[in-house]
């Protein structure tokens, strides 16, 4: 029995998120089928994260235990031969038995893309949030620093989130511009349900004046979801990097 770690990327437009669901096509089910087609294994595919419907991944990891004798270095090509156009594997490595793509993950980075162009761009449909207004990315980059560090992020998760602890650590957060596209990167040890999208929605509220920049620390410490900004649409969100305690 080998334990394999795969790196994939996917355009999430056509999927109801990562996690298996009845009556909806998900990335996990699609991979499970492809994996079965090449190995005959109805294997348990363990994803690093549960991405929402419409969310994309520049880098996503899953682990799977298999008896397949396909050499590790041939698995990527074999799997890509069975995957649809909007999912692609780029790497497969053997990992130790105790590795689990979800629980072994130490850090993740999401990036959110905002298209500030006056006219919507047909090539960014489903791939960025069209917000055709001025954003001062340097100011926003400063504002975002309020989120750095370890906090109880109760104000920045979906109200019905049930987890043992809502304390997370944001290691890095930054805002950049490339032409009309403003991108917000957030790197943390973990993300609560909708956390990245609510942080982005709150940052946008500081730009359009609905929230003052100076209020952010109070909103964080209030633990009150109703004080933070909107949950921006999932289509602008990308899982960008996944970190383990070894180089992938």
């Amino acid at each position: 029995m080998k334990n394999l770690l795969f790196v994939i990327s996917f355009d999430g437009k056509m999927y109801h998120g990562w996690q298996s669901q009845k009556n909806a096509v998900t990335v996990q089910d699609t991979i499970k089928k492809a994996f079965f087609n090449i190995t005959g294994d109805k294997a348990n595919i363990i994803g690093c994260s549960r991405t929402d419907a419409g969310v994309h991944a520049n880098m996503f990891c899953f682990s799977v235990k298999t008896k397949s004798t396909i050499p590790t270095d041939r698995f990527v090509m074999a799997l890509n031969g069975q995957l649809p156009f909007d999912i692609a594997a780029s790497k497969c490595i053997e990992v130790n038995e105790s590795f689990n793509a979800r629980f072994s993950c130490i850090k993740k980075e999401y990036v959110y893309l905002i298209d500030t162009g006056e006219i919507r761009n047909p090539f960014l449909s489903g791939r960025a949030y069209h917000y055709p207004f001025f954003i001062d990315e340097k100011r926003l980059n400063e504002t975002a620093k309020h989120f750095l560090g370890t906090h109880d992020f109760s104000a920045f998760c979906s109200a019905d989130t049930v987890v043992l602890s809502k304390i997370r650590t944001i290691y890095d957060i930054g805002v950049k511009r490339n032409g009309d596209i403003v991108s917000i990167n957030i790197c943390a040890d973990g993300f609560l349900y909708n956390m990245a999208r609510i942080i982005v929605g709150t940052l946008i509220y500081t730009e359009n004046g609905k929230i003052k920049e100076s209020e952010i620390p109070q909103i964080i410490s209030s633990l009150d979801r109703t004080r933070a900004g909107i949950t921006v649409m999932p289509q602008g969100l990308y899982l960008n990097k996944v970190f383990y305690d070894f180089e992938i």
Copy 2:
């Protein structure tokens, strides 16, 4: 009666090209419907070019004569409100009565995108030709210069093309790289059917050794379609710029 010139862009993935067809969805028909919805005019929508199924446009122009009283500066927003996510208007100007988006066009630029990454990129599916091999873009840029100037491009159009003259002038052609993406820009007074795609296919053949760089002048003068390279897939092709004898 006003004569209006619109600038649009579109992701061609879902369309059977520009031109109206029975039993297929085209960009022209989609615009005709949107235009009717806002003006009540079953207007004649004249496109600058007949793009093939799957071809995209970063810039495409059409002209239309209308009795509508919608102010010119409001037309873009009105039209975008009726257009699907993969087509967007960005400009509308009033032009003189004799202007025709097709016949008044003096120059067009196409760009072809080649994804040379080893693994196919889900975000470039339908938007670039996946060719996972080495391309020396500097050498290819030199090779491409053979196409410059005025030639009979019979060897570089679909064999069943019926036009008065197959003589066209290429003003500019160049090859660049941005990461894994190699792009080929071609600017000409006009393009024969499949001409841009066959030029790109021929250039790729000089990279994989099926055609020698030095043979290109002979292939052009042979007027023989069978001597040129393949017609590369339409999904990598973008109408990039359209020129008239005034600034748009």
